[in-house]
Structure formats: C-alpha cells, structure tokens
C-alpha cells in the first residue's frame, strides 16, 4: 500500500469519529510516513510495518468507548489493567424471553384474573351499600305496620345493619390486600422485564 492508499483506508475505517479527531490521527500517521521515508524506507515497507489500517482504526474506536474507565493512580489501576487485557466481557443478558413472558402472561391471563378480582371487590362494596340502605329502609315501614311486627322489623333492621358493617370490614381488608398484591405484582413484573428471571 502507498502512503496515500494507507491514509485513505485509515480515514475510511475511522468513519464514525469526529472530523477533527480523524484529522489529528491522520497527521500522526503522515508524520510516521515522513520520518520512515527520511530513514530510507519505502512507503510499502512503512505501510506493512504499521499494520492493517482497519485494525489500527478499530483500536482507536474501541479506546474511545473505554475512555470513561480511564486511569486513576490508585488501587483502581488493577481494574485498568484487567480491563485492557479483557475489555469488560460481561455479555448483555438476553431479555427477549422474560419480556415476552411478561407481556403475554399479562395480556392473556393476569389481565382477566385482575378484572375478576377487582370486579368481585367492587360488587362486595355495592352489596355492603345495598344492605346498609335496606337496613334503613325496613325501619321506614314501622308506621304502617301492626304493632306486633314492630319489634321484629327493628331487629331485622339492626341485623341488616350489622351484616353491612361486617361485609364492609371484610371489603376494606380485601381492598387493602388487593392493593398490596397489585403493587408487589407490578414490582415483580418490572424486575423480570428489566433484569430477567
């Protein structure tokens, strides 16, 4: 490869870097060629010694992404050394499976389960309200009832009232429980979606 060919290939392979960086890098290599030539080497010899421009370019590109990890003149140098030897080879976890699972599981199963649970709770609340209203309603019949039935009606009213209270308390705890379970379930979903199982 001639000097021109080498520099053109290098420039091409450095493509994704900033224009200023490419210019700086190329000037380093131009200098290398000039000095080599002044020492009696041919352009082809120098190109061969420099090595494949694509590999050289790759080194620049990889260094760029690792820049953040930099050097610290401390114990962290261990990290720096190991990083150069084995550049952070923690493979990206494949999350397609877990994500697909979360989406499909929710769409086909959990959404219906959730709807029926919430519907049950809502209807229980409705029942509570209904019974409460009924307990008051029976009392309104007292004026038109024969006196012998009054006591029974009052007792029925009180009974219904307590029944409403009991179901109400049950509803309250069920609602609370469902909120907690939902929250935990959403949390678990997020975890699986973002980090896998």
């Amino acid at each position: 490869m001639t000097r021109e060919e080498y520099l053109a290939a290098l420039k091409r392979a450095l493509g994704s870097l900033k224009e200023t960086e490419i210019t700086e890098i190329c000037s380093d290599f131009e200098e290398h060629f000039s000095i080599g030539l002044s020492q009696g080497k041919t352009e082809h010899e120098i190109s061969a010694e420099l090595g494949d421009p694509r590999i050289v370019a790759d080194t620049y590109l990889n260094d760029n992404t690792e820049q953040a990890s930099g050097y610290r003149p401390t114990a962290q140098n261990t990290a720096a050394i190991t990083q150069t030897v084995a550049p952070n080879q923690v493979p990206e976890k494949d999350l397609t499976g877990p994500r697909l699972f979360v989406i499909l599981f929710n769409l086909f199963i959990m959404i219906w389960v959730a709807i029926s649970i919430y519907a049950t709770i809502v209807s229980l609340w409705a029942a509570t309200a209904g019974i409460l209203v009924a307990s008051g309603a029976v009392l309104t019949t007292i004026p038109i009832l024969p006196s012998g039935a009054v006591l029974g009606v009052i007792l029925a009213g009180i009974g219904l009232f307590f029944l409403a209270v009991c179901i109400g308390i049950l509803c309250f705890f069920l609602t609370k429980l469902s909120i907690i379970v939902t929250r935990e379930y959403v949390k678990w979903n997020k975890k699986v979606y973002n980090e896998g199982f």
Binding site: D28, E31, S34, I35, G51, I55, Y60, Q67, T74, N77
Partner: protein, 105 residues
C-alpha cells in the same frame, strides 16, 4: 507472542519508555515493535488514549531531517500511574512465575 499478553502491558511499556526522555511517535513505535513484535500502527492509538487520559502531553519540535515531530512527555499523573502500574506488574509477574515455575505449593 500471544496478543492478549501484549495488550495489557503496552501502556506500561509506553509510559516506561517516556520516563527518562520525551520521545516522538515513530521512535516509540520502532522500539516497541522491535522488542515485542507489535504493528507500528497500534502504538498511536495507545499514545492518543494516554493523552486523553492526561498521562502524557504533546508538543511539536522541529527536526533536522523532515517535518516537525510530535513529542510525548509524561505528566505528573503519568508518572504516578507508571509507578502504580509497575508495582502491579512486578507483583503480578512474580505470582505468575511462581505458578508456572511450580514453586507454588
């Protein structure tokens, strides 16, 4: 020589070579490639990275033959890093030698 072996110590080598005198890229590349058989071209990315990390600074100096040369000079941070890397390298090679030499019982 094993490529993986070289990668880890190139920074250390370059910093060491700059310890006593400033050098220009061609010089560094020549010495390194002669001693540990690496492509000359791979020295420049290392120099650039060392510069961006603040280990070395660069300056241009005229030469009798050819164009001005870009010299590399160790910074204070570079010196500290060199000392730390060297220390680790010595400890590390001592351990490895112990293992491969079978002295590790």
């Amino acid at each position: 020589m094993n490529v993986q072996f070289k990668k880890g110590v190139l920074d250390l080598c370059v910093l060491s070579m700059l310890k006593d005198s400033d050098q220009y890229g061609y010089e560094l590349a020549n010495t390194l490639s002669a001693l540990i058989q690496i492509a000359d071209g791979t020295v420049y990315p290392i120099l650039r990275k060392l510069a961006t990390d603040g280990m070395v600074t660069t300056y241009l100096q005229e030469s009798q033959s050819g164009p001005p040369r870009k010299y590399y000079k160790l910074t204070g941070l570079g010196r500290k890093t060199l000392a730390a890397l060297l220390e680790e390298w010595l400890t590390f090679t001592r351990s490895v030698n112990q293992i491969v030499g079978g002295e590790c019982k």
